[in-house]
Amino acid sequence: MAPAGTAHRHRLPAYVGVWLALVLIVGIEVQVTYARLPARLLLPVLLGLAVIEALLALLYFMHLRYERPLVFWSVISTLLFVLLMMNQFWADARRLLALHR
């Protein structure tokens, strides 16, 4: 991230470049979906592509790249912690699956 106080506005063509990258990722997502990968492989691939999209939107469209590092760490680390803690439920989902079989 750039130090606070630096100019943090791109010209519109730069934003169009990010937009094109996002549209391209959407195309890759659809392509990957119809490659008929097993669900356990498709999910991490699609999630990884979605995270790349989200980072591009956060850093460029929402200008987080140009805010002070403290903004990034206070906002994103809090959210990541919450999302990380939600992963504890997967073990129970697998238990549920075993009950149905």
């Binding site: 937009w19 997502e29 119809y34 999630l47």
Partner: protein, 224 residues
């Protein structure tokens, strides 16, 4: 930091003109700069975005929990019309972020008419997204999908997860469109400035960002 005056009490930022100018009792109060270097309204919208992202995270985790735990989960979405429709909706929403950025830049340059025009374009794209979404909903409802009914015979909870996740997102889009109209009218009348456009833009980009997860997880993972 387009609104440095926001760090000051409103009275302190107002210029005193002429001998009859009102004397503000807060004009001489020293105000510390924000430690985060953000105008207060941007900090507020970032706090809202963090909380709202956790809400969407929870609802998507809930959907994932049910999907992983159901061996007979339905995959009802054909490429035409559903996936193609969702791709078009995604491109529309991404494009609306671009027009929103253009509106923010125009507002920062003090170009009021261009700001209103670009906000109007963002509103139209938001309405197009909502229209396509509702068309898809009505088509599914006509096929027999309900929050508690699965016409394919799979888990009935599929409809509940689909309508609640996409419905919550649609609610955010509609709320954003209303906010954009209010801001556009305020910019046209001179009541709102670049800071207001920027803050609304942060919200609008967040709505776009959430869809980046809804589209692959709810649509592509359920493609036939």
């Amino acid at each position: 930091m387009s609104d440095p005056e926001l760090f000051l009490p409103r009275d302190a930022a107002a210029p005193a003109v002429g001998p009859t100018a009102p004397v503000s009792h807060v004009a001489h109060v020293a105000v510390e700069a924000s430690p985060l270097g953000l105008p207060s309204r941007n900090l507020a919208i970032w706090l809202f975005i963090t909380a709202d992202a956790a809400t969407f995270g929870a609802i998507l985790f809930g959907y994932g929990y049910l999907r992983v735990g159901s061996p007979t989960w339905s995959r009802p979405f054909a490429f035409v019309p559903t996936i193609l429709n969702a791709v078009i909706m995604t491109v529309i929403l991404l494009t609306s972020s671009l027009t929103m950025l253009a509106a923010t830049r125009a507002a920062e340059a003090g170009r009021r008419e261009a700001t209103v025009r670009r906000l109007g374009a963002t509103v139209l794209l938001g309405l197009a997204f909502a229209g396509l979404h509702l068309r898809e909903w009505f088509a599914m409802i006509a096929e027999g999908w309900r929050p508690g009914t699965n016409p394919l015979g799979g888990p009935p909870i599929f409809g509940a997860t689909f309508f609640s996740i996409t419905g919550l997102h649609l609610l955010h889009v509609v709320g954003g469109v209303v906010a954009l109209v209010v801001i556009a009218l305020g910019v046209r009348s001179g009541r709102f400035g670049a800071g207001h456009v920027e803050t609304t833009g942060l919200y609008w980009h967040f709505v776009d960002l959430v869809w980046m997860f809804v589209f692959p997880l709810v649509y592509l993972m359920n493609a036939r």
